[in-house]
Amino acid sequence: MGRHVAPLIAFDVDSRVLHTMFGAFRPTASVHVGLLWKTPWRLSPTRKANVRDRLKKVDAVIEAVRASGVECAALTKALELPKEHEMDPKDKYTVFSPHDRNYRKGIHKVPKFTRITHRTNPKGF
């Protein structure tokens, strides 16, 4: 009865899924049947800081385009977006969700949230 050592990488022939130690889907401890998918419901302080950083970088890009003096419809729309320091923390770290309690869910649940602009939510939510 030796100690069961989880392999670094395992291929589950039945469900045809590749299990590794890393990634969003991780195998359960002893029985490699099914997937364990746990993500925290909220962002950690580090992730929140990174969100703020990314928002500031996008603000800098919009500002550079504005400073160039060029006029276009995309710039008019971009200038209507709130800047990072004008945003509510609720809007920085959560997004509107019609299905969840309080109609909000963490922004990290949005696919590609690190490379997408999502600053405004429906009014009142």
Binding site: A60, V61, V65, S68, V70, A74, L75, T114, R115, T117
Partner: protein, 144 residues
């Protein structure tokens, strides 16, 4: 061991590189710029008009929609960290704003614009020596 010593004698003496832009890591320079990103900052004292966008791709468009990928193709960007220069116009401004989450933009004057080969040449490290003469060109063979 002897061969290494012999090789040392054959190495031409180190002459200060003419392009002093690259300093040794351990050298202390009074004009050393503060550590920042590799992007050169346009000095505020420069009176040239800023006519170009300096666009650098910082984040990839992998698994983003095809129109975003197409915008990067239209800008002439093929890989991360690539830098391109475009003149100020509304078309380029619109393209930048389409990919604003992936890109870093600066306004630069015309004198700062570099083509791909020019950027490559500037990236190269200078040789630690300058060739001042050549025995063949001095005509040694003629006298022999």
């Amino acid at each position: 061991m002897a061969s290494i010593l012999a090789a040392h004698r054959r190495v031409p003496r180190l002459i200060q590189s003419l392009s002093s832009s690259r300093l040794l890591a351990t050298a202390v320079s009074p004009t050393a710029t503060p550590s920042s990103s590799s992007a050169p900052s346009v000095s505020s004292s420069s009176s040239e008009p800023l006519t170009h966008y300096r666009i650098t791709l910082r984040r990839s468009a992998i698994s983003l929609p095809a129109n975003i990928k197409g915008t990067l193709v239209a800008l002439g960007i093929h890989r991360r960290m690539q830098t391109v220069y475009h003149r100020h116009n509304p078309e380029t401004a619109g393209k930048i704003l389409r990919v604003k989450e992936l890109v870093e933009v600066q306004n630069v004057p015309e004198s700062a614009v570099r083509t791909k080969t020019e950027q490559r040449r500037e990236r190269k490290a200078p040789r630690g020596f300058v060739v001042v003469g050549n025995r063949l060109s001095e005509g040694v063979l003629e006298s022999a």
